[in-house]
């Protein structure tokens, strides 16, 4: 299965939720199920019980919504409620894709490509 590799950076205090590390390299599937309910078990080993039949699942290219899910379930080490809320980043957290505001790219719907750089900055800390 094809994967894409992303550079993901956390700053502004967010790094404390990700093992106190600013820079992460993250690999995710190039294509993911459209149905977010399947993400928890994706990518599933073909022989595992109850795994969705890969041929029957409708797929889409990996996007920011999938990356957020991936970061929360596989990278985050503490207090998920300080990172995500209602399926998106908590208000006050800025996200950039290749140094551009993700609000310009459709936020969760923004598509990701191999070697993209994603940055999350919390504005909620200190003054």
């Amino acid at each position: 299965m094809a994967t894409i590799t992303l550079s993901v950076n956390f700053s502004g205090g967010l790094e404390t939720l990700f093992a106190n590390r600013t820079a992460h390299t993250v690999s995710i599937p190039a294509r993911v199920p459209v149905d977010a309910a399947l993400w928890d078990t994706w990518p599933a080993a073909p022989e595992s019980a109850g795994a969705p039949d890969a041929d029957a699942v409708t797929m889409k290219p990996a996007d920011m919504a999938y990356l957020l899910h991936h970061l929360r379930t596989r990278v985050l080490t503490a207090r998920p409620e300080l990172f995500l809320e209602h399926g998106t980043v908590r208000p006050g957290i800025l996200a950039l894709i290749n140094d551009a505001d993700w609000e310009l790219e459709g936020e969760g719907a923004a598509l990701l490509h191999d070697e993209d750089e994603v940055v999350f900055i919390s504005t909620l800390h200190g003054g």
């Binding site: 551009a100 310009l104 504005t123 200190g126």
Partner: protein, 357 residues
């Protein structure tokens, strides 16, 4: 999706969606509009005069770091003729303020400004670490807030400056408007949106980032690669402000103009004279000479409570009466050095106004 082009220059790739306007703009146009808006805020409010010595209240955090950068940029670009200095307060919080002060020291070199660090320890004889060790985490923000305000004024007096600028941004001010409404503090509601405050005899204080969104301040720091420190204070933060902040951020997510709209609402309130009349007349503290609405200023009351082991005396009226009932302050009580307001320095009466229009 093809890259979006800048709504202002129509050539470069857009990198930011402005929360205030929804415009999509490129990096250079962003720097230009952000700086120009701060310049307009400064000139419209006529904050400075040529020759003013201005202290930038610097914590090492994002707002004051960006403020130092922008003040230096504008002072050079528009010939404000200001002498800029950095003033930092060391509250004595190990693992928090000591680290952030390292950031300020780097800023001092980067911006070539002199830096004064004034500590709670030298001024009050107590660090926040020592205060929290005595009183616990509850109410410690009261001590810190009162002590910081006075420390900034005293630091400014030591530096003989005319003016202190702080990094309070639009989000902070909108939050304060909401908090004052929710607390029914109408007198504060009436003045919390003022860009510049000046007591009877204190140094002018102003907020050049009054209309600058936090999002843009953080984006500015990111794209300029400014060096700032971002860690939450290790002692319990102001819970009430935290709620107001979360509420405001939710509003902003739904409608980004909410922040500036709330500030405008705050500015438009007309406060009845009867409310203004209930404010106590300002006097000077009989013990330390700082401005006060009572015989003793808040900092002296808090300090006396700490010294006498009755720390709540400065927090609640009941505890204050209890301390008074135990007799007057002992003779050997540690007190804050007497506050000497600097003599008014030479001034010209010309304000810096925008001459380009």
């Amino acid at each position: 999706m093809p890259p979006k082009t800048c709504a202002l220059c129509s050539s470069a790739r857009a990198i930011l969606k402005r929360p205030k306007t929804g415009q999509q703009i490129c990096k250079d146009c962003f720097f230009y509009v952000f700086e120009t808006e701060v310049h307009n805020t400064i000139t419209e409010a006529q904050l400075f005069k040529p020759g003013d010595r201005v202290a930038i209240g610097a914590s090492g955090g994002k707002d004051s770091t960006v403020l130092a950068h922008v003040m230096k940029t504008l002072n050079d670009r528009y010939n404000y003729g200001l002498e800029l200095l950095l003033l930092s307060i060391d509250e004595g919080i190990t693992g928090y303020r000591d680290d952030s002060l390292e950031t300020v020291k780097r800023n001092q070199e980067q911006y070539d400004m002199s830096l004064k660090i004034l500590s709670y320890d030298e001024l009050y004889g107590w660090t926040m670490d020592a205060i929290v060790a005595q009183i616990g985490k509850k109410n410690n923000c009261t001590f810190c807030g009162v002590f910081r305000r006075q420390a900034l004024d005293r630091g400014a007096a030591i530096l003989n400056v005319d003016h202190i600028v702080t990094g309070h941004n639009a989000d902070d001010i909108a939050e304060t408007v909401l908090m004052n409404i929710m607390r029914g503090d109408i007198a504060r509601l009436g003045r919390c949106t003022s860009i510049c405050t000046q007591g009877e005899d204190t140094i002018k204080r102003s907020k050049p980032f009054k209309y600058a969104y936090e999002k843009e301040i953080v984006m500015y720091a990111y794209f300029k690669k400014l060096d700032y420190f971002s860690t939450e204070c290790i002692y319990s933060p102001d819970a009430y402000r935290g709620h107001a902040r979360a509420f405001l951020k939710d509003l902003e997510a739904a409608r980004p103009s909410a922040i500036i709209d709330i500030i405008h609402s705050g500015e438009a309130f007309e406060i009845k004279e009867v409310v203004k009349a209930t404010q106590k007349i300002q006097q000077t503290c009989k013990r330390c000479g700082y401005m006060s609405s009572n015989e003793l200023c808040k900092a002296c009351t808090l300090l006396e409570g700490l010294e006498r082991g009755m720390a709540n005396a400065g927090v609640t009226d009941r505890a204050r009466k209890k301390m008074d009932a135990e007799g007057p302050a002992p003779e050997n009580l540690r007190i804050i050095p007497f506050f000497q307001q600097p003599a008014a320095p030479h001034r010209t009466d010309i304000s810096i106004a925008d001459t380009s229009t």
